[in-house]
Subunit: 155 residues, 2 copies
DNA sequence: ATACTTGCAAATGATTTGCCAGTGT
DNA sequence: ACACTGGCAAATCATTTGCAAGTAT
């Protein structure tokens, strides 16, 4: 599986901005919260609560609780790429919509503007204002499409 | 919450066709399987395993097992509309892609051709061949968009 | 007759909640 | 000081698996 987002996950310019926002939201800055933000900031894509907890030797429950709190306050967001746990990422600067290849697992992270033309088409045809932040656009990436049409072997 | 699919969920022309396909797949027709197919056929949209089990007084495990088997054989498919259990529907004639309003819960069921223009746009821009059968297009339906822009009250 | 299916119980994975001790402001 | 937060245990929800008895072909 290839991750097409070579650019490190764009979020707040730096950790301090995220922390500032957290305070602006009236949230306390606990050690655990700082650690979680650091972890999300360092990650090169969305990660599971379990991963964060294990990585930092924190209780998963605390991690879930904090992610949920920070999500309610707009600092964090989670996606579902297929089955398995939800994956969390910092909200911030740029990218938070997803294309997911169900064959190889490739995740392409996009900034909203990149999907605006698609969104416009959907709005015009169906009247829905679509968002691909919580569920990705699922499909087959170009590489897998090729492989797939060359070899008749089904997935 | 409004279900925009007024037309009964299109699948196989009738139950017998689904059963014929089941046999063609080398699967046995047990009482439980017939009941499940009937239930899916009668439903006006995708339903949870739990719902089917409760409705028919069957064990959820059996229902899951059968749905999974039939899904592997292409008779059935499941979607995730938000959190909560997966929702199952018969595959067949027509409609099995979804638009889901995350505000009011409205589900609009579409046949693939209706989303082909959207798919084409995605293919051209990103090289992905998208499918909205497993995850819907999530967004805000026209009604909710209106309400939302009129009243500043957030969801 | 044989292989596949069933219900029931128990296991698993993801996430949530209750509770009391500890910490941020 | 006081309200919020952390860890730990237990609960909950969705789904899966093991197993012995029952059923379809």
């Amino acid at each position: 599986m290839t991750t097409t987002s070579d650019v490190p996950h764009l979020t707040f310019g730096n950790l301090d901005e995220a922390i500032a926002e957290l305070r602006r939201q009236g949230l306390r800055l606990s050690t655990v919260r700082r650690l979680i933000l650091q972890a999300l900031f360092a990650a090169d894509g969305p990660v599971s609560a379990e991963y964060v907890a294990r990585d930092l030797t924190l209780d998963v429950a605390s991690v879930y609780r904090n992610l949920e709190t920070m999500e309610r306050h707009g600092l964090v967001r989670h996606v579902h790429l297929g089955h398995g746990p939800g994956l969390y990422a910092l909200v911030g600067g740029g990218e938070h919509e997803y294309l997911f290849c169900e064959r190889c697992g490739a995740v392409r992270v996009l900034s909203p503007s990149e999907l605006d033309p698609v969104r416009t088409g959907i709005k015009q045809r169906f009247g829905y204002t679509a968002s691909f932040t919580h569920f990705p656009i699922v499909g087959m990436c170009a590489d897998c499409d090729d492989v797939h049409s060359r070899s008749p072997a089904q997935m």
